[in-house]
Protein backbone atom coordinates (compact mmCIF):
# COMPACT_ATOMS: atom_id res chain seq x y z
CA UNK A 1 0.00 0.00 0.00
CA UNK A 2 1.52 3.29 -1.11
CA UNK A 3 1.19 6.39 1.03
CA UNK A 4 2.04 10.04 0.43
CA UNK A 5 1.54 13.27 2.30
CA UNK A 6 0.46 16.19 0.15
CA UNK A 7 -0.23 19.84 0.88
CA UNK A 8 -3.29 19.67 -1.36
CA UNK A 9 -5.29 17.00 -3.13
CA UNK A 10 -7.69 18.15 -5.80
CA UNK A 11 -10.45 15.66 -6.56
CA UNK A 12 -11.88 16.26 -10.05
CA UNK A 13 -10.26 16.94 -13.40
CA UNK A 14 -12.68 19.38 -15.00
CA UNK A 15 -11.87 23.05 -15.63
CA UNK A 16 -12.23 23.88 -11.90
CA UNK A 17 -9.88 21.14 -10.74
CA UNK A 18 -7.40 21.81 -13.54
CA UNK A 19 -7.32 25.54 -12.80
CA UNK A 20 -6.81 24.80 -9.12
CA UNK A 21 -3.97 22.48 -10.17
CA UNK A 22 -2.28 25.25 -12.16
CA UNK A 23 -2.51 27.72 -9.26
CA UNK A 24 -1.42 25.23 -6.60
CA UNK A 25 1.49 23.95 -8.68
CA UNK A 26 2.60 27.48 -9.41
CA UNK A 27 2.50 28.26 -5.67
CA UNK A 28 4.79 25.28 -5.10
CA UNK A 29 2.23 23.38 -3.05
CA UNK A 30 2.88 19.64 -3.11
CA UNK A 31 -0.25 18.83 -5.05
CA UNK A 32 -2.00 15.71 -6.31
CA UNK A 33 -4.72 16.10 -8.89
CA UNK A 34 -7.02 13.07 -9.03
CA UNK A 35 -8.52 13.75 -12.43
CA UNK A 36 -10.73 10.71 -13.03
CA UNK A 37 -10.43 8.26 -15.92
CA UNK A 38 -10.84 10.95 -18.55
CA UNK A 39 -9.96 14.49 -17.47
CA UNK A 40 -12.04 17.41 -18.64
CA UNK A 41 -15.47 17.03 -17.09
CA UNK A 42 -18.45 18.46 -18.94
CA UNK A 43 -16.31 20.64 -21.21
CA UNK A 44 -14.68 17.54 -22.68
CA UNK A 45 -18.13 16.73 -24.07
CA UNK A 46 -18.45 20.03 -25.92
CA UNK A 47 -17.69 20.22 -29.63
CA UNK A 48 -17.11 23.88 -29.87
CA UNK A 49 -16.22 26.36 -27.15
CA UNK A 50 -17.00 29.89 -28.33
CA UNK A 51 -17.07 31.81 -25.07
CA UNK A 52 -13.69 31.16 -23.49
CA UNK A 53 -11.60 34.34 -23.62
CA UNK A 54 -8.48 34.16 -25.76
CA UNK A 55 -9.83 31.80 -28.41
CA UNK A 56 -11.56 34.08 -30.93
CA UNK A 57 -11.65 31.34 -33.54
CA UNK A 58 -13.20 28.94 -30.95
CA UNK A 59 -11.64 25.72 -29.73
CA UNK A 60 -12.99 22.21 -29.21
CA UNK A 61 -13.60 21.01 -25.65
CA UNK A 62 -11.07 18.13 -25.86
CA UNK A 63 -8.37 20.45 -27.27
CA UNK A 64 -8.90 22.96 -24.49
CA UNK A 65 -8.73 20.20 -21.88
CA UNK A 66 -5.47 18.87 -23.37
CA UNK A 67 -3.99 22.35 -23.08
CA UNK A 68 -5.14 22.73 -19.48
CA UNK A 69 -3.70 19.33 -18.55
CA UNK A 70 -0.30 20.26 -20.06
CA UNK A 71 -0.39 23.51 -18.12
CA UNK A 72 -1.09 21.66 -14.84
CA UNK A 73 1.80 19.26 -15.53
CA UNK A 74 4.11 22.13 -16.42
CA UNK A 75 3.73 23.54 -12.90
CA UNK A 76 4.57 20.24 -11.28
CA UNK A 77 1.36 18.86 -9.75
CA UNK A 78 1.19 15.05 -9.58
CA UNK A 79 -1.50 13.98 -11.98
CA UNK A 80 -3.47 10.75 -11.75
CA UNK A 81 -6.00 9.74 -14.38
CA UNK A 82 -7.94 7.57 -11.96
CA UNK A 83 -11.06 7.90 -9.82
CA UNK A 84 -10.89 8.57 -6.10
CA UNK A 85 -12.66 5.62 -4.50
CA UNK A 86 -13.04 6.75 -0.89
CA UNK A 87 -12.26 9.74 1.32
CA UNK A 88 -11.81 10.15 5.05
CA UNK A 89 -12.16 13.74 6.20
CA UNK A 90 -12.68 12.92 9.90
CA UNK A 91 -9.21 14.01 11.08
CA UNK A 92 -6.09 15.77 9.85
CA UNK A 93 -4.30 14.69 7.75
CA UNK A 94 -7.25 13.98 5.44
CA UNK A 95 -7.16 10.79 3.40
CA UNK A 96 -8.03 10.19 -0.24
CA UNK A 97 -8.08 6.61 -1.52
CA UNK A 98 -7.47 5.56 -5.09
CA UNK A 99 -8.12 1.83 -5.00
CA UNK A 100 -5.39 0.40 -2.75
CA UNK A 101 -3.43 3.62 -2.55
CA UNK A 102 -4.00 6.03 0.33
CA UNK A 103 -2.88 9.61 -0.05
CA UNK A 104 -2.74 11.90 2.95
CA UNK A 105 -3.15 15.62 2.64
CA UNK A 106 -3.45 18.78 4.67
CA UNK A 107 -6.09 20.30 2.42
CA UNK A 108 -8.56 19.19 -0.25
CA UNK A 109 -10.41 20.81 -3.12
CA UNK A 110 -13.54 18.95 -4.13
CA UNK A 111 -14.37 19.60 -7.80
CA UNK A 112 -16.12 16.44 -8.94
CA UNK A 113 -18.76 18.30 -10.95
CA UNK A 114 -22.02 16.84 -12.09
CA UNK A 115 -23.46 14.14 -14.34
CA UNK A 116 -26.38 14.13 -16.71
CA UNK A 117 -29.81 13.90 -15.15
CA UNK A 118 -32.01 11.32 -16.85
CA UNK A 119 -35.77 11.10 -17.35
CA UNK A 120 -36.01 7.91 -15.31
CA UNK A 121 -38.01 5.92 -17.87
CA UNK A 122 -37.55 2.16 -18.34
CA UNK A 123 -37.43 2.72 -22.11
CA UNK A 124 -34.65 5.27 -21.65
CA UNK A 125 -32.40 2.74 -19.86
CA UNK A 126 -33.24 -0.05 -22.31
CA UNK A 127 -32.46 2.05 -25.40
CA UNK A 128 -29.39 3.88 -24.04
CA UNK A 129 -26.71 3.58 -26.74
CA UNK A 130 -29.37 2.37 -29.13
CA UNK A 131 -30.71 5.77 -30.04
CA UNK A 132 -30.87 7.36 -26.60
CA UNK A 133 -27.81 9.46 -25.82
CA UNK A 134 -26.63 12.15 -23.42
CA UNK A 135 -23.54 13.46 -25.16
CA UNK A 136 -23.93 15.14 -28.53
CA UNK A 137 -20.17 15.41 -28.99
CA UNK A 138 -19.87 11.65 -28.59
CA UNK A 139 -22.81 10.42 -30.62
CA UNK A 140 -24.10 13.18 -32.92
CA UNK A 141 -22.01 11.76 -35.80
CA UNK A 142 -24.21 8.65 -35.74
CA UNK A 143 -27.25 10.66 -36.73
CA UNK A 144 -25.94 11.71 -40.14
CA UNK A 145 -29.01 12.48 -42.27
CA UNK A 146 -31.32 11.20 -39.52
CA UNK A 147 -33.76 12.82 -37.09
CA UNK A 148 -33.18 13.51 -33.38
CA UNK A 149 -35.47 14.66 -30.57
CA UNK A 150 -33.57 16.78 -28.04
CA UNK A 151 -35.23 16.83 -24.62
CA UNK A 152 -34.58 19.91 -22.47
CA UNK A 153 -34.60 23.68 -22.72
CA UNK A 154 -31.47 24.92 -21.02
CA UNK A 155 -28.13 26.12 -22.27
CA UNK A 156 -26.77 22.66 -23.00
CA UNK A 157 -29.94 21.32 -24.62
CA UNK A 158 -29.81 24.21 -27.10
CA UNK A 159 -26.06 24.02 -27.68
CA UNK A 160 -26.25 20.27 -28.24
CA UNK A 161 -29.28 20.59 -30.53
CA UNK A 162 -27.19 22.99 -32.63
CA UNK A 163 -24.23 20.57 -32.57
CA UNK A 164 -26.44 17.73 -33.77
CA UNK A 165 -27.60 19.73 -36.81
CA UNK A 166 -24.05 19.44 -38.15
CA UNK A 167 -24.96 15.82 -38.89
CA UNK A 168 -28.72 15.27 -38.57
CA UNK A 169 -31.32 16.47 -41.05
CA UNK A 170 -33.85 17.41 -38.41
CA UNK A 171 -33.88 18.16 -34.68
CA UNK A 172 -37.04 18.60 -32.60
CA UNK A 173 -36.54 20.20 -29.19
CA UNK A 174 -39.10 19.01 -26.65
CA UNK A 175 -39.25 21.24 -23.59
CA UNK A 176 -41.59 21.14 -20.61
CA UNK A 177 -41.75 24.92 -20.08
CA UNK A 178 -42.98 27.81 -22.21
CA UNK A 179 -39.58 29.39 -22.72
CA UNK A 180 -35.96 28.32 -22.97
CA UNK A 181 -33.63 29.13 -20.11
CA UNK A 182 -30.54 29.95 -22.14
CA UNK A 183 -28.62 32.94 -23.42
CA UNK A 184 -30.27 35.04 -26.10
CA UNK A 185 -27.46 34.16 -28.50
CA UNK A 186 -28.30 30.45 -28.33
CA UNK A 187 -32.05 31.03 -28.44
CA UNK A 188 -31.57 33.13 -31.59
CA UNK A 189 -29.24 30.55 -33.17
CA UNK A 190 -31.83 27.84 -32.54
CA UNK A 191 -34.65 30.01 -33.89
CA UNK A 192 -32.85 30.72 -37.15
CA UNK A 193 -31.60 27.17 -37.71
CA UNK A 194 -33.84 25.69 -40.42
CA UNK A 195 -33.23 22.13 -39.18
CA UNK A 196 -34.62 22.82 -35.68
CA UNK A 197 -38.24 22.96 -34.56
CA UNK A 198 -39.47 23.23 -30.97
CA UNK A 199 -42.39 21.74 -29.04
CA UNK A 200 -42.88 23.79 -25.90
CA UNK A 201 -44.85 22.68 -22.83
CA UNK A 202 -44.52 19.02 -23.78
CA UNK A 203 -43.12 16.17 -21.71
CA UNK A 204 -41.65 12.88 -22.89
CA UNK A 205 -43.74 10.00 -21.53
CA UNK A 206 -42.05 7.09 -23.25
CA UNK A 207 -39.31 6.32 -25.74
CA UNK A 208 -40.55 3.88 -28.34
CA UNK A 209 -38.70 1.09 -30.12
CA UNK A 210 -37.72 -2.55 -29.64
CA UNK A 211 -34.00 -2.71 -30.43
CA UNK A 212 -33.52 0.87 -31.55
CA UNK A 213 -35.30 4.14 -30.92
CA UNK A 214 -38.19 4.58 -33.33
CA UNK A 215 -40.07 7.42 -31.68
CA UNK A 216 -41.12 9.23 -28.53
CA UNK A 217 -44.55 9.57 -27.00
CA UNK A 218 -45.04 13.14 -25.77
CA UNK A 219 -47.79 14.79 -23.78
CA UNK A 220 -49.06 18.34 -24.17
CA UNK A 221 -49.05 19.78 -20.64
CA UNK A 222 -51.98 22.10 -21.38
CA UNK A 223 -54.40 19.76 -23.13
CA UNK A 224 -53.11 16.42 -21.79
CA UNK A 225 -53.17 15.17 -25.35
CA UNK A 226 -50.54 12.58 -26.27
CA UNK A 227 -48.85 12.18 -29.63
CA UNK A 228 -45.97 10.25 -31.15
CA UNK A 229 -42.95 11.84 -32.85
CA UNK A 230 -41.08 9.45 -35.11
CA UNK A 231 -37.36 9.78 -34.56
CA UNK A 232 -34.05 7.92 -34.87
CA UNK A 233 -32.45 9.36 -31.76
CA UNK A 234 -33.27 11.00 -28.45
CA UNK A 235 -30.80 13.33 -26.74
CA UNK A 236 -31.45 13.79 -23.03
CA UNK A 237 -30.26 17.22 -21.83
CA UNK A 238 -32.46 18.02 -18.84
CA UNK A 239 -29.84 19.10 -16.35
CA UNK A 240 -27.39 17.61 -13.90
CA UNK A 241 -27.02 15.75 -10.67
CA UNK A 242 -24.03 16.56 -8.47
CA UNK A 243 -21.29 13.91 -8.18
CA UNK A 244 -21.09 13.93 -4.40
CA UNK A 245 -21.69 10.27 -3.52
CA UNK A 246 -18.10 10.01 -2.30
CA UNK A 247 -18.65 12.75 0.28
CA UNK A 248 -22.07 11.76 1.63
CA UNK A 249 -20.85 10.91 5.14
CA UNK A 250 -17.92 13.32 5.11
CA UNK A 251 -19.31 16.74 4.25
CA UNK A 252 -22.62 18.47 4.83
CA UNK A 253 -24.81 18.19 1.72
CA UNK A 254 -27.97 20.04 0.68
CA UNK A 255 -31.22 18.19 -0.11
CA UNK A 256 -30.21 18.31 -3.78
CA UNK A 257 -26.89 16.66 -2.99
CA UNK A 258 -24.70 19.75 -3.38
CA UNK A 259 -22.00 20.49 -0.80
CA UNK A 260 -23.02 23.13 1.72
CA UNK A 261 -20.55 25.96 1.27
CA UNK A 262 -19.95 29.64 1.77
CA UNK A 263 -18.14 30.74 -1.39
CA UNK A 264 -15.45 28.02 -1.76
CA UNK A 265 -15.40 27.17 1.99
CA UNK A 266 -17.09 23.96 3.15
CA UNK A 267 -18.04 23.34 6.77
CA UNK A 268 -14.67 21.59 7.35
CA UNK A 269 -11.44 23.56 7.70
CA UNK A 270 -9.02 22.97 4.84
CA UNK A 271 -11.66 21.47 2.57
CA UNK A 272 -12.79 23.64 -0.31
CA UNK A 273 -15.27 23.17 -3.13
CA UNK A 274 -15.10 24.45 -6.70
CA UNK A 275 -16.72 24.14 -10.11
CA UNK A 276 -20.28 22.99 -10.86
CA UNK A 277 -20.64 21.66 -7.31
CA UNK A 278 -20.27 25.22 -6.11
CA UNK A 279 -22.42 26.89 -8.75
CA UNK A 280 -25.98 25.96 -9.53
CA UNK A 281 -26.55 29.34 -11.19
CA UNK A 282 -23.99 30.05 -13.92
CA UNK A 283 -22.26 26.72 -14.64
CA UNK A 284 -19.93 28.24 -17.21
CA UNK A 285 -16.43 27.21 -18.17
CA UNK A 286 -15.00 30.51 -16.93
CA UNK A 287 -16.96 30.45 -13.67
CA UNK A 288 -15.66 26.92 -13.02
CA UNK A 289 -12.10 28.13 -13.65
CA UNK A 290 -12.76 31.12 -11.43
CA UNK A 291 -13.86 29.06 -8.43
CA UNK A 292 -10.97 26.62 -8.99
CA UNK A 293 -8.62 29.58 -8.75
CA UNK A 294 -10.29 30.92 -5.60
CA UNK A 295 -10.24 27.50 -3.94
CA UNK A 296 -6.52 27.06 -4.67
CA UNK A 297 -5.69 30.51 -3.26
CA UNK A 298 -7.77 29.81 -0.14
CA UNK A 299 -6.11 26.41 0.26
CA UNK A 300 -2.71 28.08 0.15
CA UNK A 301 -3.80 30.68 2.74
CA UNK A 302 -5.09 27.89 4.95
CA UNK A 303 -1.81 25.96 4.69
CA UNK A 304 0.22 29.07 5.54
CA UNK A 305 -1.97 29.81 8.58
CA UNK A 306 -2.04 26.29 9.95
CA UNK A 307 1.03 24.35 8.92
CA UNK A 308 3.89 26.38 7.64
Amino acid sequence: MKQHLYDLIIIGGGPAGLTAGIYAGRSKLKTLLVAGNVPGGQIYLTYQVDNYPGFPESITGPDLVDRMVSQVKRFGADFQEQEATKVDFSNQPYKVYIGDEVHETRSVIVATGSSNRLLGLESETRLMGRGVFVCATCDAALYEELKVVAVGGGESALQEALDITKFANEVVIVHRNSGFSATKYLIDEVAKNPKITSMMRHTVEEILGQNYVEGVRVRDRDTGEESVIKTDGVLIAIGWIPNTGLFRDQLELTDQGYIVADSVFTSKPGIFVAGDLNDTEYRQLVTACSSGCKAAIEAEKYLIQTHR
Binding site: R130, F133, L142
Partner: protein
Protein backbone atom coordinates in the same frame (compact mmCIF):
# COMPACT_ATOMS: atom_id res chain seq x y z
CA UNK B 1 1.69 -6.63 -29.89
CA UNK B 2 -0.51 -7.37 -32.90
CA UNK B 3 -1.83 -4.20 -34.36
CA UNK B 4 -5.30 -2.85 -34.89
CA UNK B 5 -5.96 -2.06 -38.56
CA UNK B 6 -7.53 1.31 -39.33
CA UNK B 7 -10.27 0.63 -41.92
CA UNK B 8 -12.65 2.72 -44.03
CA UNK B 9 -16.17 1.87 -45.18
CA UNK B 10 -14.81 1.70 -48.73
CA UNK B 11 -12.44 -1.18 -47.75
CA UNK B 12 -15.18 -3.26 -46.12
CA UNK B 13 -15.20 -6.09 -48.68
CA UNK B 14 -11.45 -6.58 -48.57
CA UNK B 15 -10.89 -5.98 -44.86
CA UNK B 16 -13.93 -7.66 -43.33
CA UNK B 17 -16.20 -9.66 -45.66
CA UNK B 18 -13.43 -11.59 -47.38
CA UNK B 19 -11.70 -12.52 -44.10
CA UNK B 20 -11.97 -16.19 -43.11
CA UNK B 21 -11.38 -15.43 -39.42
CA UNK B 22 -13.48 -13.35 -37.00
CA UNK B 23 -13.05 -9.61 -37.44
CA UNK B 24 -13.61 -7.20 -34.56
CA UNK B 25 -14.50 -3.66 -35.64
CA UNK B 26 -14.47 -0.77 -33.21
CA UNK B 27 -16.63 2.11 -34.41
CA UNK B 28 -15.07 5.11 -32.73
CA UNK B 29 -13.94 8.71 -33.11
CA UNK B 30 -11.39 10.92 -31.42
CA UNK B 31 -13.88 13.21 -29.67
CA UNK B 32 -15.58 10.30 -27.91
CA UNK B 33 -14.70 10.16 -24.22
CA UNK B 34 -15.59 6.52 -23.66
CA UNK B 35 -13.53 5.57 -26.74
CA UNK B 36 -10.56 7.18 -25.03
CA UNK B 37 -11.28 5.25 -21.83
CA UNK B 38 -11.62 1.99 -23.77
CA UNK B 39 -8.53 2.54 -25.94
CA UNK B 40 -5.95 0.73 -23.76
CA UNK B 41 -8.43 -2.05 -23.02
CA UNK B 42 -9.13 -2.63 -26.73
CA UNK B 43 -5.45 -2.34 -27.63
CA UNK B 44 -4.63 -5.12 -25.15
CA UNK B 45 -6.88 -7.61 -26.98
CA UNK B 46 -5.02 -8.53 -30.23
CA UNK B 47 -2.08 -10.03 -28.29
CA UNK B 48 -4.48 -12.51 -26.68
CA UNK B 49 -5.53 -13.98 -30.05
CA UNK B 50 -2.45 -13.84 -32.26
CA UNK B 51 -3.43 -14.22 -35.91
CA UNK B 52 -6.70 -16.08 -35.26
CA UNK B 53 -8.74 -12.91 -34.95
CA UNK B 54 -8.40 -9.65 -36.86
CA UNK B 55 -8.82 -6.37 -34.97
CA UNK B 56 -9.86 -3.21 -36.79
CA UNK B 57 -11.30 0.21 -36.08
CA UNK B 58 -13.28 2.70 -38.14
CA UNK B 59 -13.12 6.42 -37.35
CA UNK B 60 -16.59 7.87 -37.85
CA UNK B 61 -15.40 11.45 -38.07
CA UNK B 62 -13.03 10.56 -40.89
CA UNK B 63 -15.75 10.59 -43.57
CA UNK B 64 -19.45 10.78 -44.13
CA UNK B 65 -19.22 7.37 -45.85
CA UNK B 66 -17.94 5.82 -42.62
CA UNK B 67 -20.78 7.40 -40.63
CA UNK B 68 -23.52 6.35 -43.02
CA UNK B 69 -22.02 2.87 -43.18
CA UNK B 70 -21.94 2.57 -39.38
CA UNK B 71 -25.51 3.81 -39.07
CA UNK B 72 -26.67 1.23 -41.63
CA UNK B 73 -24.90 -1.41 -39.53
CA UNK B 74 -26.94 -0.42 -36.52
CA UNK B 75 -24.31 1.63 -34.70
CA UNK B 76 -25.92 4.36 -32.59
CA UNK B 77 -23.22 5.09 -30.04
CA UNK B 78 -19.47 5.17 -29.79
CA UNK B 79 -17.62 3.08 -29.05
CA UNK B 80 -19.49 0.08 -30.46
CA UNK B 81 -17.46 -3.11 -30.93
CA UNK B 82 -18.98 -5.60 -33.39
CA UNK B 83 -17.57 -9.02 -34.20
CA UNK B 84 -18.13 -10.15 -37.79
CA UNK B 85 -17.88 -13.55 -39.41
CA UNK B 86 -17.38 -13.06 -43.14
CA UNK B 87 -19.21 -9.76 -42.91
CA UNK B 88 -22.08 -11.10 -40.78
CA UNK B 89 -22.35 -9.64 -37.24
CA UNK B 90 -22.21 -12.26 -34.48
CA UNK B 91 -22.26 -10.05 -31.40
CA UNK B 92 -21.58 -6.56 -30.10
CA UNK B 93 -20.46 -4.58 -27.08
CA UNK B 94 -21.71 -1.03 -26.74
CA UNK B 95 -20.01 1.55 -24.55
CA UNK B 96 -17.88 1.30 -21.43
CA UNK B 97 -16.77 -1.92 -19.71
CA UNK B 98 -14.24 -2.66 -17.01
CA UNK B 99 -11.11 -4.32 -18.49
CA UNK B 100 -11.90 -7.85 -17.23
CA UNK B 101 -15.57 -7.61 -18.28
CA UNK B 102 -14.65 -6.41 -21.77
CA UNK B 103 -12.07 -9.16 -22.23
CA UNK B 104 -14.52 -11.82 -21.01
CA UNK B 105 -17.47 -10.55 -23.07
CA UNK B 106 -15.39 -10.24 -26.23
CA UNK B 107 -13.95 -13.74 -25.75
CA UNK B 108 -17.47 -15.13 -25.43
CA UNK B 109 -18.62 -13.47 -28.65
CA UNK B 110 -15.50 -14.63 -30.50
CA UNK B 111 -15.96 -18.20 -29.24
CA UNK B 112 -19.54 -18.14 -30.45
CA UNK B 113 -18.32 -17.10 -33.86
CA UNK B 114 -17.40 -20.75 -34.44
CA UNK B 115 -18.08 -21.06 -38.14
CA UNK B 116 -15.26 -18.56 -38.61
CA UNK B 117 -13.03 -20.21 -36.02
CA UNK B 118 -13.55 -23.64 -37.57
CA UNK B 119 -12.55 -22.43 -40.97
CA UNK B 120 -9.38 -20.84 -39.56
CA UNK B 121 -6.38 -23.19 -39.74
CA UNK B 122 -5.24 -23.78 -36.16
CA UNK B 123 -1.55 -23.88 -37.16
CA UNK B 124 -1.66 -20.23 -38.18
Amino acid sequence: MSSIVEIQAADWEKEVTQEKRPVVVEYWHHKCVICKEMKPIFEAQPAKYGETVKFTKMNLLESKENRVFAIRNGVRSTPTFIVYCMGRPTGQIIGHREPEDFTKELKMIIENTDSCLMSTPIEE
